[in-house]
Symmetry: C2
Subunit: 129 residues, 2 copies
DNA sequence: CCTCAAAAGCGAATTTATTCGCTAACTTGT
DNA sequence: ACAAGTTAGCGAATAAATTCGCTTTTGAGG
């Protein structure tokens, strides 16, 4: 019996997507340059990863220009949502509330963000009635 | 150049840890039985995974009894914390607040949990002054 | 003590994820 | 249209993650 392919984004895939989300459409060379701030790999490797991601439909590519331009296939928000849901499912036994409590108590958030959270909370609790 | 070993928990490792957190100390056979509710693998595989996890110090083993009893090496809370931090770092660009906002708006939480969150929020904002 | 069944361990096979060297294709500036 | 330098693509190599068959060890019962 073989090992099943993972449905998760791999380390490099996520790193590349992050670059694309933050920097916008980029060439393989640009992506590679950002990437090597963290990893120490060859240009060929970056190109290969991009081709794999293209096959997996994780990125799109504009081939009408040279060098080609790569773009993320999904928005950052949608991907975050998916991964968040996954973490809740697998690590928090499906309890979103328990994740929120832990996030709030153990990770730093700015006063502005806290205010925003409160505002959202007001809205949510208002709807309940 | 080889592929670097991942510092993340793998799929099976997490599944096994979840069983141990939820069910408490268990034998390989018990773990295997729970595991096969999701996956369809051989008993040998489960034992092997446990030995790998033992080498990685992800689980502890009581060998004074037979069959041996396995226990998680880290608490669920600590592992959650680590993985949450990692997600925030890698997927939310380090912004815990942004994760909170998305969790709050896209994932269901019970009224009790919302109340708890509000309480925690009060405490946090109180400390700021 | 001996037999049987379950538990534990080992080594090897398979697949995925990642890596890069080498070749081919394309641009640009003579 | 040619030379030089990128850029794109391919195929093969390597380590990690997962799988299981087979052997060895252990414990319980007679």
């Amino acid at each position: 019996m073989p090992r099943p392919p993972s449905s998760q984004l791999t380390e490099v895939e996520l790193q590349i997507l992050r670059i694309l989300w933050n920097k916008g459409a980029s060439t393989a060379r640009q992506i590679h340059n950002y990437l090597t701030e963290d990893r120490n790999t060859n240009y060929s490797t970056t190109v290969k990863m991009l081709s794999v991601m293209l096959r997996k439909a994780l990125v799109k590519r504009d081939e009408t220009v040279h060098p080609h331009l790569y773009q993320p296939a999904a928005t950052q928000a949608r991907t975050q949502q998916k991964m968040l849901k996954d973490l809740i499912q697998k690590v928090y036994n499906g309890s979103a509330g328990s994740l929120m409590l832990q996030a709030l108590s153990s990770q730093k958030a700015s006063p502005e963000e806290l205010a925003e959270i409160r505002q959202l909370l007001d809205k949510l609790e208002g709807d309940e009635k």
